[in-house]
């Protein structure tokens, strides 16, 4: 089964860290990603820029409005995603519990919706044919 792991981060806290500390934390996360790769669990991942660079669109009163910044004012924001292959949710939980990233902020583990993904795949196929 495929899971998307959403990694959250308190940016203010992160920015207070010295550059060397940041680098060490990143390095430990990368090293654990290698552990996941070794077991065939790491399918992919993307790191996100600061939430300060986010633009949020909303549909209100019949039109789209744009605001800068995140859609919700929270202490922790999405910092990156990791795509994980695991046998089931408990296996995913077990693998991600050991990820050093969890010490900097929570992970939200979400199973991918294979039914909708199948629709998307069919759509891509017909688009390529057309």
């Amino acid at each position: 089964m495929k899971f998307i792991c959403l990694g959250y981060l308190d940016e203010a806290q992160w920015n207070e860290l010295a550059e060397a500390e940041q680098a060490a934390l990143m390095e430990s996360c990368f090293a654990y990603d290698d552990e996941l790769r070794r077991g065939g669990h790491f399918i992919g991942g993307e790191a996100l820029q600061s939430v300060q660079n986010a633009a949020t669109l909303r549909y209100q009163h019949g039109q789209v409005t744009v605001t800068d910044g995140p859609y919700a004012e929270t202490k922790e924001h999405l910092g990156g995603i990791l795509i994980l292959e695991a046998r089931d949710l408990n296996h995913a939980i077990q693998l991600m519990s050991q990820h050093p990233g969890v010490r900097s902020g929570p992970f939200e583990i979400r199973p991918v919706d294979e039914a909708i993904n199948a629709q998307i795949a069919a759509r891509i196929k017909s688009f390529q044919r057309g």
């Binding site: 090293a31 077991g39 089931d88 408990n90 050991q98």
Partner: protein
């Protein structure tokens, strides 16, 4: 190596996963002393088999290879992860020194490992719902998502149940062992309860996603067979016989539209002959051995039903005698109620009604829908239409399951037409 051989080896590894992964897992838990580490090691061992066997050939004893590979992979993993967690270094070297002392390919230990796993998953310190979840995931190899869907709960709820249970096993230091002779009867009783709960979850509910629930009964029967192989106690055999005999009536007990069909109205040609024969033979085997427990007696009752061509030709005197024994072994108002129904079949509805009224007067079953349904049925047989209607109404108010509601409503309609 040729493509076909690579494909063949992949198939072999997949087949081995289905037949051997639970055994390998059980042994790895003993060797590594930790569920999570064992699960990862199991995964790594099978991944290594897929990668190495096409080049190196299939080992003579694949299971032993998987166990020892899993174990060494776990030690490697712990060593590498020492950089994230220094406490792992100690564990890694401890496991490494043990390696030489242990004969990990020792097959005689393997069956004991499976028994250890069963007793650990069904440890009385864990709540029953956690025992069930762990048993199905770790022993039967079902995924969290499959178990959640069978029990109609969210996967995340079930996942948390499993995480908590494993934490409890770790923190409370629940040992990975078969209980001592003195503790065995009590501990086995818990294991049998877990298996029977799984079975009933699949058997009782004929609404909702009935397909996945039927699979739960199959899993329970499979567990019963495994346990009988590992620990052939009389009650283990009795429970397996009981499950087989109940399961043999599955097709006959509901109509194609999902309505409930009572034993007396079932088409007995639909009873599953193979399950029934096996169940009856097991009952004979246990009774011949002489020591009977509550599961065996229930199986014996089911076997009497199984032997009868119709309700009228059922040996009700035997069934009453078994219920007499069951009230001694396992006294409960529900057993008394079933005994009253059997007596009604033997001695007539008036005698049964008196007994049921006495039981209801004790109060324990006042809110038990089947007590009122049984009373209603006897009143109906005695021609006491008004009393029968009242009792069916009572039962209807108390039941939650759709097929049972439909059955009671049908009986009420029939009574209204008669008057």
């Amino acid at each position: 190596m040729a493509e076909t051989t690579v494909a063949q080896i992949r198939q072999l590894v997949e087949a081995l996963y289905r037949t051997e992964s639970r055994r390998v897992f059980a042994t790895l838990i003993r060797l590594l002393g930790n569920f999570d580490l064992a699960e990862e090691a199991l995964h790594d061992a099978f991944a290594a088999a897929s990668a190495q066997w096409p080049q190196e050939g299939v080992p003579a004893n694949p299971r032993a290879w998987l166990v020892s590979t899993g174990r060494f992979k776990a030690i490697d993993t712990l060593r590498r992860r020492t950089r994230f967690d220094h406490s792992l270094a100690e564990l890694a070297s401890k496991l490494d020194t043990e390696a030489n002392a242990l004969d990990i390919a020792d097959d005689s230990q393997v069956e004991d490992d499976r028994l250890r796993l069963i007793f650990t998953c069904c440890h009385p310190a864990l709540p029953p719902e956690a025992q069930i979840a762990l048993t199905l995931r770790e022993i039967c190899g079902l995924t969290t998502e499959e178990i959640a869907s069978a029990f109609l709960v969210a996967p995340s709820t079930l996942a948390q149940r499993i995480v908590r249970a494993k934490a409890k096993i770790r923190d409370a230091g629940i040992p990975y062992q078969v209980p001592s002779k003195a503790d065995l009867p009590d501990r086995l009783e818990t294991v049998l309860q877990v298996i029977y709960l799984v079975f009933n979850e699949g058997y009782a509910a004929s609404s909702g996603s009935s397909l996945t629930r039927a699979n739960l009964s199959e899993e329970a029967i499979r567990l019963g067979r495994l346990l009988m192989e590992l620990l052939p106690d009389t009650e283990v055999v009795g429970l397996l016989a009981l499950m087989l005999l109940q399961e043999s009536r599955r097709t006959a007990r509901t109509s194609p539209t999902g309505d409930l069909i009572l034993l007396e109205d079932q088409d007995r040609s639909l009873w599953h002959a193979v399950y029934m024969a096996e169940g009856r033979a097991l009952v004979q085997q246990v009774l011949a051995a002489g020591r009977v427990g509550a599961y065996t007696v229930q199986a014996a009752i089911a076997a009497v039903h199984a032997a009868a061509p119709s309700t009228a030709e059922t040996a009700w005197d035997q069934i009453v005698a078994w219920y007499d024994l069951l009230t001694q072994l396992n006294p409960s108002p529900v057993v008394e109620l079933n005994r009253a129904v059997a007596i009604a079949m033997r001695d007539g509805p008036a005698v049964g009604l008196q007994l049921i009224d006495d039981i209801l007067a004790q109060g324990d079953l006042a809110n038990y829908h089947l007590a009122h349904a049984a009373r209603a049925d006897l009143c109906r047989r005695l021609g006491q239409v008004a009393a029968a209607k009242d009792a069916y109404q009572q039962a209807l108010m108390l039941t939650k399951q759709d097929p049972e509601r439909r059955f009671l409503e049908k009986r009420l309609r029939e009574l209204s037409q008669e008057t």
